[in-house]
C-alpha cells in the first residue's frame, strides 16, 4: 500500500508538471477530453497542436509498454458490452460536462474553479456508486 501511495504521488507530480508545461507553453488547459474532442467537431481547430499532444500520449504509452508493461492492465470482470457502454458514456459525458479527470479534476481544482469542483465531486460520486454497485452485484 505504501509503495502504491508513493507511486501515485510521483505519477501525479509528473501529470501536474505536464499540465504546467502545457499552460506555460501554450496558455491552455491540459484537459484530455477537450483536446481530443476538439478534433471531432465539424470544424476542428488547432489540429496540429491537438495531434502533437495526443501523439505524445501514444508515445508515452509506447514507453510504458516497453519499460513497465505491468502498468497497463485491462479491467477484469467487465464484459465487452460494458466496455462499449463505458466508452460511449465517457465520450458523451465528458463533452456534455466539458471535462474529465484531467480538465476538471486536476486543472480545474488547481485553479480553484467552483464549476470544476462540482463536476469532480459529481463524477467521483457517480464513479464510487457505480463501481461499488457493480462490485456488490457481480
Amino acid at each position: 500500500m505504501l509503495e502504491s501511495i508513493v507511486m501515485a504521488i510521483l505519477g501525479g507530480t509528473l501529470i501536474g508538471l505536464a499540465a504546467s508545461i502545457i499552460l506555460a507553453a501554450s496558455g491552455r488547459i491540459a484537459g484530455i477530453s477537450g483536446i481530443v474532442g476538439g478534433l471531432l467537431t465539424k470544424k476542428p481547430t488547432d489540429v496540429a497542436w491537438r495531434s502533437s499532444f495526443i501523439g505524445g500520449l501514444f508515445a508515452g504509452g509506447f514507453l510504458l509498454v516497453l519499460m513497465t508493461p505491468a502498468s497497463i492492465q485491462a479491467p477484469e470482470g467487465r464484459s465487452m458490452v460494458m466496455i462499449v457502454a463505458a466508452g460511449l458514456l465517457v465520450g458523451f459525458g465528458t463533452r456534455l460536462g466539458n471535462g474529465c479527470t484531467s480538465g476538471h479534476g486536476i486543472c480545474g481544482l488547481s485553479r480553484l474553479s467552483f464549476r470544476s469542483l462540482v463536476a469532480t465531486m459529481t463524477f467521483m460520486g457517480a464513479g464510487f456508486a457505480t463501481a461499488t454497485a457493480i462490485g456488490m452485484f457481480s
Binding site: 505519477g11 501529470i15 504546467s20 496540429a48 501514444f58 470482470g77 458514456l89 460536462g97 474529465c100
Partner: protein, 148 residues
C-alpha cells in the same frame, strides 16, 4: 515546431505519469472506486501530487503576460453551474467506473493493444462524435483565438 515538440513532450510526460501513478491499471481504478470489498485508496494521491504541483506552478505561470508560444492564455471562465455540467459529469462517472478507464488512461492503454482499451477508446470517440451529431457544442472559453 518548437511549440509542437514541447506539447508532444508534455504528452509523453503526462502518459508516463498516468502509468507510474497506477491510472492505466484498470483494475486498480476499479479497486479505488469500489468502496465495498478490498478498498485501495492509493489513487486518491494522484490528485494530491498533480494538484499540489499544478496549483503552485499555476499562479507562477500566470504571472507572465502571455504563454511562451502564444499570444494569450485561454483559461475557461468560471461560469454558473448548469444542468449539462452535472448530467455530463454523472454520465462520465458511471462510464469511468463501468470500464475502469477515463479518457487519458484509455487512450494511453490502447497502445498496449489490449482489446478492452482499444474498444473503450473507439467507443469513447464514438460518444464524442454522437455528441456532435446531436448538435452539442462545447461551451465557449474566455478567449478563443488560436495559439501560434
Amino acid at each position: 515546431m518548437k511549440h509542437l515538440l514541447t506539447v508532444f513532450s508534455a504528452g509523453v510526460l503526462f502518459a508516463v505519469g498516468l502509468g507510474v501513478s497506477g491510472m492505466t491499471n484498470a483494475n486498480k481504478v476499479i479497486g479505488f472506486l469500489n468502496l465495498a470489498g478490498d478498498w485501495d485508496p492509493s489513487l486518491a494521491f494522484v490528485m494530491v501530487g498533480a494538484i499540489g504541483v499544478h496549483l503552485l506552478l499555476f499562479k507562477f505561470i500566470l504571472r507572465r503576460e502571455s504563454p511562451i508560444f502564444g499570444s494569450h492564455f485561454q483559461i475557461p471562465t468560471d461560469g454558473k453551474l448548469d444542468k449539462r455540467l452535472v448530467i455530463g459529469s454523472l454520465m462520465f462517472g458511471v462510464g469511468w467506473a463501468t470500464g475502469g478507464f477515463c479518457p487519458g488512461p484509455g487512450m494511453v492503454s490502447s497502445v498496449g493493444l489490449g482489446s478492452e482499451a482499444l474498444v473503450f477508446s473507439v467507443s469513447m470517440l464514438g460518444g464524442m462524435v454522437l455528441f456532435q451529431w446531436l448538435g452539442g457544442s462545447p461551451e465557449p472559453t474566455a478567449t478563443t483565438a488560436p495559439v501560434q
